[in-house]
């Protein structure tokens, strides 16, 4: 039970500065976006109010929209189901086996700091066709697996997975760091106590680490979901959403619509959809973790 009962003025002093900035610069633009989503507007000239027409078209008569939604969730799914468990596993291993953890954890984190421009350029040279010096294809050829070579970033069915791999790789260290922090925060005496009860090693992880890491893991899940919804830079650098929209996700599709096709109203409708997805996701993630919390305790 919360014990601090304070005056309205105190609450205002604590909350208002932050809330105000946020409401003006993030929340208000969202509302404006929703309104813009109801306009037929090129972003520059006269606008026309068209009600829900943009949304209707988006949901029912846009052959590019749903595939972009699908790819966004594909990215989120891979991130949550593969990247996060791997990160957790590595974090556990590090905290069990490594004494001076700083260097290792920091090194794993390195790709996150580097600009997407670097990451994109690097992976392009990795994915390039063999004659252009592409690493993967050259290795495959050296292994005699010529038939396995692909033009990774330009075959429509493969390209999105090629990008997902990069995203997973780049942010692995990010999640390792977060989970590792979480594990470090588990008091040592709990493990001591468990040892007396005969639980050690991986058994201790199963019964102590996993349940106690849940809150931090939730942060990871949320962050990975945000990252997936906002994934934009990497796609723009690597494929620009192409070939022929085969790697467009929601954020890049919104950008292309608003600023290249100059359908700002329609782009805003897509942005509004992103907001709704975010709301739903927040609720779902919270419910899921509440249930998880209960199960463990």
């Amino acid at each position: 039970m919360k014990v601090l009962k304070v005056s309205g003025w105190t609450i205002a002093a604590f909350v208002l500065p932050c809330l105000f900035l946020y409401v003006c610069l993030v929340f208000a633009p969202i509302i404006v976006s929703v309104y813009n989503g109801m306009l037929d507007w090129n972003g520059i000239g006269q606008s026309k109010f068209v009600g829900l027409a943009n949304f209707e078209k988006m949901f029912t008569n846009d052959s590019l929209f749903w595939p972009a939604v699908g790819r966004t969730f594909l990215l989120a799914g891979f991130s949550m189901l593969i990247q996060l468990p791997v990160a957790l596993f590595v974090a556990i291993l590090i905290s069990r086996f490594v004494r001076r953890t700083g260097f290792l954890v920091s090194s794993y984190f390195l790709p996150v700091i580097l600009s997407v421009a670097v990451i994109g350029q690097l992976w392009k040279t990795i994915y390039n066709p063999a004659p252009m010096g592409g690493m993967i294809n050259q290795i495959l050829i050296n292994l005699g697996l010529d038939s396995w070579t692909h033009s990774w970033l330009t075959e429509p069915k493969i390209a999105i997975y090629a990008i997902i791999v990069v995203a997973l790789w780049q942010y692995l260290g990010y999640h390792i760091l977060i989970q590792f922090t979480g594990i470090q925060n588990i008091p040592a005496d709990i493990y001591e106590a468990a040892k007396i009860d005969g639980a050690s090693g991986f058994k201790a992880d199963r019964y102590i680490t996993l349940p106690l890491i849940v809150p931090i893991f939730k942060i990871s899940v949320v962050l990975s979901f945000i990252g997936s919804l906002q994934s934009f830079d990497l796609i723009m650098v690597m494929t620009g959403g192409g070939p022929a929209n085969a790697t467009n996700v929601l954020a890049s599709y919104m950008y292309n619509m608003s600023f290249l096709s100059m359908k700002y109203g329609y782009g805003s409708a897509i942005a509004s959809f992103l907001v709704v997805v975010c709301l739903a996701a927040t609720v779902v993630i919270n419910l899921l973790f509440n249930r998880l919390d209960k199960r463990f305790s």
């Binding site: 601090l4 610069l25 069990r96 600009s115 922090t181 008091p187």
Partner: protein, 294 residues
């Protein structure tokens, strides 16, 4: 690379270990660490080599090749024409002001949401959660209008304000997640001692919250340091531009000087990497310190 990681079997937290499994299992584990280390460190090495190549060597794309002649001139080009020092100063200024503000504002809010007894705490939290996943690009036009009206276009304020605003949701989310777990006895005893709300916040809760604050710092930092779209849109004066401008200043309509971009990227990442590695130990230590109270 595994020399740097001492193979002592005593870990600080988990002291329990099955000794017979150690020999085989440990080798496997450290081999795994090693492989991971190579893949994660490789980009930096690649970038260093890249930054010393000529344009044509870079674009010919041989993956493992070294430059024929080491192009140190890329670095002088980056520093001189890329306005490195000025941009570095601007980036540093914007980033530091932003981070300090975020920490202060978000922790105040998180404290109020989690520790005060008031009706609207959850509502406020929900409002913040709503904005957590908004892509910046969607807000460019409205922000432009706002900044035009309050006349702060083309000042650092037009970067700092949206950077703060966009990072607060996740900061509030993380900090309140942590503060919720601090036992209420702390406040109870503080109140008995006659401490006011601000003292409870400043000298009890905030110090304890250093680990999540660190996390927030890192998250905010990586989002701000390389941010380009807003910077390019709101800043026009040469003397106010930030590091990402330098990177993109080498990309022009029909020619690109990739080597200099590489050099600039190295120079741009250098302070970050240095600071990060220097502070890494402190960050983890800070986290462990926080754990004792948690």
């Amino acid at each position: 690379m595994s020399q740097s990681v001492t193979l002592k079997k005593e870990a600080p937290v988990v002291k329990v270990r099955n000794k017979r499994r150690v020999s085989v299992g440990k080798i496997a584990v450290f081999a795994f660490f090693g492989v991971l280390l190579v893949t994660q460190l490789y980009p930096l090495i690649w970038l260093l080599i890249y930054s010393l190549k000529t344009n044509e060597e870079i674009l010919s794309g041989s993956f493992f090749s070294l430059p024929a002649v080491w192009q140190w001139s890329n670095y002088s080009a980056a520093i001189e024409s890329g306005n490195y020092w000025k941009y570095l100063y601007n980036s540093g200024f914007v980033t530091i002001v932003t981070m300090v503000s975020i920490i202060l504002l978000a922790s105040l809010t998180a404290f109020a949401i989690t520790r005060f007894r008031w009706k609207y705490g959850q509502v406020v939290m929900l409002i913040f959660l709503l904005g957590m996943m908004i892509p910046m690009q969607a807000t460019l036009l409205p922000l432009m209008l706002i900044f035009k009206n309050i006349d702060i276009l083309n000042t650092h304020l037009s970067l700092i304000l949206p950077y703060i605003a966009f990072q607060t949701p996740i900061a509030v989310f993380i900090l309140s997640g942590f503060m919720r777990t601090i036992p209420t006895e702390i406040e109870e005893s503080a109140i008995v001692d006659g401490a006011g709300v601000f003292r409870i916040f400043g000298s009890i809760v905030l110090p304890v919250s250093i680990p999540p604050v660190m996390t927030v710092c890192i998250l905010a930092f990586i989002n701000i340091w390389n941010e380009y779209i807003m910077a390019a849109t709101f800043i026009s004066s040469e003397k106010l531009k930030t590091l990402p401008f330098g990177v993109y200043s080498f990309v022009s309509q029909y020619s690109v000087n990739y080597g200099a971009i590489g050099a600039f990227l190295v120079l741009g990442a250098l302070p970050v990497v240095l600071i990060y590695f220097l502070l890494a130990e402190k960050i983890t230590k800070g986290m462990v310190a926080g754990a004792v109270k948690g």
